[in-house]
């Protein structure tokens, strides 16, 4: 009377699509290795221990902020307030450590608390105000930048007191602690996203808010948590950036390394994430961050003018956006 449920090999077209998606998603591994080899051959001093450690330090700063940013993106929240959080946290760090003279652990704790507060503030506007994250965080970023400007009196705060940089960049097995912190962030992120209920809910909320809601996922809480994680990693990065530069970073623009919203966004998109949430694997972002850092570092060593490097990075973002949109159309 009834046909059996169709035995299901994927139809040819679907299988092709899945293969192409696999390529788009994992191409970043190949591209990064190729780029690395190219610079080993072409760029002087690229393949030296000193430079490799430099690359890792730069990558760690961009990497940590990107890890949290990734979580927000996965939950479907484009968090544009990164710069604002960086600004508040860097000023908090510099003020407390240099001018107030607070101990190092307390300074770090307060900087991270500032990040959590910023994330909660974002969550309040997004969830309670029912405003799209992209717009809401653009607005909150303005508030945060203003707070940072007010706190610092519009001045860059230089840190003369010893102990911050030394402690934060202490070397463990020859590798600066910021690199270890980055790996730690990615391991925690990986476990959370793939092995916990919260991770499953983050993916589901980002992929389909309504379906998640109907299935009983506490979507609002998930969004709040994702925004706090994003702000928290930005604050952590701010501490490291401040320690590295021995001064507060005006307007959150990082002096050392390229830690900003655009880098994080480029890395996230190059890593195969959808701008619309719910798709992507955090470990690929780590590779995408390394790719961007190697690109900048190698070109610099080849004496390519900074302007050109910025243009190249700009094109990387354009390419990443195109890839992301293509991907979204295919799924």
């Amino acid at each position: 009377m009834f046909a059996r449920l169709t035995q299901g090999q994927l139809p040819m077209a679907r299988r092709r699509r899945e293969q192409l998606l696999f390529l788009m998603d994992n191409g970043i591994y190949v591209v990064t290795v190729v780029l690395f080899i190219v610079f080993v051959i072409l760029a002087p001093y690229f393949f030296t221990p000193r430079n490799l450690v430099n690359i890792l330090i730069s990558a760690s700063l961009a990497g940590i902020v990107t890890a949290g940013y990734t979580v927000a993106i996965l939950a479907g929240q484009i968090d544009t307030s990164t710069q604002g959080v960086l600004a508040v946290a860097t000023v908090t760090t510099a003020l407390l450590f240099e001018e107030v003279g607070v101990s190092l652990p307390l300074t770090v704790a307060f900087a991270l608390l500032a990040g959590i507060a910023a994330g909660l503030f974002n969550g309040l506007i997004v969830v309670n105000g029912k405003i799209v994250a992209f717009v809401a965080t653009l607005a909150t970023q303005g508030v945060m930048l203003a707070i940072a400007l007010f706190l610092s009196g519009g001045q860059t705060i230089t840190i003369a007191r010893e102990g911050l940089q030394e402690a934060v960049f202490i070397r463990v097995f020859g590798i600066p602690s910021s690199v270890w912190i980055m790996f730690f962030c990615y391991i925690v992120g990986y476990v959370m996203l793939t092995q916990t209920k919260l991770g499953a809910h983050i993916y589901a909320t980002g992929a389909d808010y309504r379906a998640a809601l109907l299935s009983g996922v506490p979507v609002d809480r998930v969004i709040r948590i994702a925004l706090v994680i994003s702000a928290l990693t930005a604050a952590l990065t701010a501490v490291l950036v401040t320690a590295r530069a021995k001064q507060s970073a005006m307007f959150g623009l990082a002096i050392a390394g390229s830690v900003d919203f655009v880098t994080a966004l480029t890395a996230v998109l190059l890593g195969g994430f959808s701008l619309f949430g719910g798709v992507g694997r955090i470990e690929r972002n780590l590779v995408a961050v390394l790719f961007l850092t190697i690109l900048g570092n190698g070109l610099q060593l080849m004496d390519v003018p900074t302007g050109i490097i910025l243009i190249v990075r700009g094109f990387a973002l354009v390419l990443a956006v195109i890839l992301s949109v293509l991907r979204a159309r295919m799924t």
Partner: protein, 249 residues
């Protein structure tokens, strides 16, 4: 009809939205282990009645009797607690997640300290069991839902209802968007569920299909329940006449 067990009964259920009287003192009996079809024209009140039963809406007056016990259905969670699970028309599946994660979305199996870790193995095993039980042919439960056919999706959504302990499964126009072959898959799925003693509430526009699969056919018209017929004693012409508001004696 008298020998049949009633598993769920609505008692003078009434629901208005402002001036619109969507459900008018409906007392409906749903028979255990049977396919109970609910038919009626657009706007007849089928969807509202179903939402009241699945806890998505609260009635203005009236109540429920489930397995002989008078009760109220406080919300979707309350409905789940009573073994009532709705399979929504759009299925509420997440396209970019795999079959297992969709089946357990919102009711994930967990382990470890504080139950924060997912029990991937347990979910995989249970997903296989449930899908095997309903004879769903989904070759790879790690497949993304976006790659499934309409019939397979329906199976995943029903699997989710079963995992949540669904004994009374509400299916809202399950074949509305499907082709001929997939429609047959879904009808077979309904037949399988009935074979396992599940109670099905089926909303459908398709009279032919209703006659093919349902045991009881209830008709709504302008918010009222105007009659229930067993399939064997009804004719299509009679049911169509009832849908258009003609009460038969």
């Amino acid at each position: 009809m008298a020998s049949e067990d009633v598993i769920l009964e609505t008692i003078d259920l009434d629901k208005s939205f402002g001036a619109v009287h969507a459900v008018r003192t409906v007392s409906w009996k749903v028979y255990e282990g049977r396919v109970n079809a609910l038919v009626g024209d657009n706007g007849a009140g089928k969807s509202t009645l179903i939402k009241l039963i699945s806890g998505a809406l609260q009635p203005n007056s009236g109540g429920f009797r489930v397995r002989g016990q008078e009760t109220r259905i406080g919300g979707p969670a309350g409905a789940f607690g009573l073994g009532i699970a709705a399979v929504y028309q759009n299925l509420a599946l997440v396209e970019n997640r795999d079959v297992v994660m969709n089946m357990f979305l919102g009711s994930e199996l967990t382990r470890g300290p504080g139950q924060i870790f997912l029990d991937h193995k347990g979910m995989l095993r249970q997903a296989h069991e449930v899908l095997d039980d309903i004879h769903a042919r989904i070759p790879n439960v790690r497949e993304m839902v976006r790659n499934l056919s309409g019939g397979q999706r329906q199976a995943v959504a029903v699997g989710r209802a079963l995992i949540r302990g669904g004994e009374i499964i509400i299916m809202d126009e399950p074949t509305a968007a499907l082709g001929v072959e997939q429609t047959q898959e879904v009808l077979q799925l309904i037949d399988t569920l009935r074979g396992q003693g599940k109670t099905i509430i089926l909303i459908s526009h398709n009279i032919q299909q209703v006659f093919e699969i349902a045991d009881y056919i209830s008709v709504m018209f302008h918010g009222e329940l105007i009659g229930t017929r067993s399939r064997d004693e009804a004719t299509e012409a009679e049911v169509v006449a009832m849908i258009m508001g003609k009460r038969s004696p």
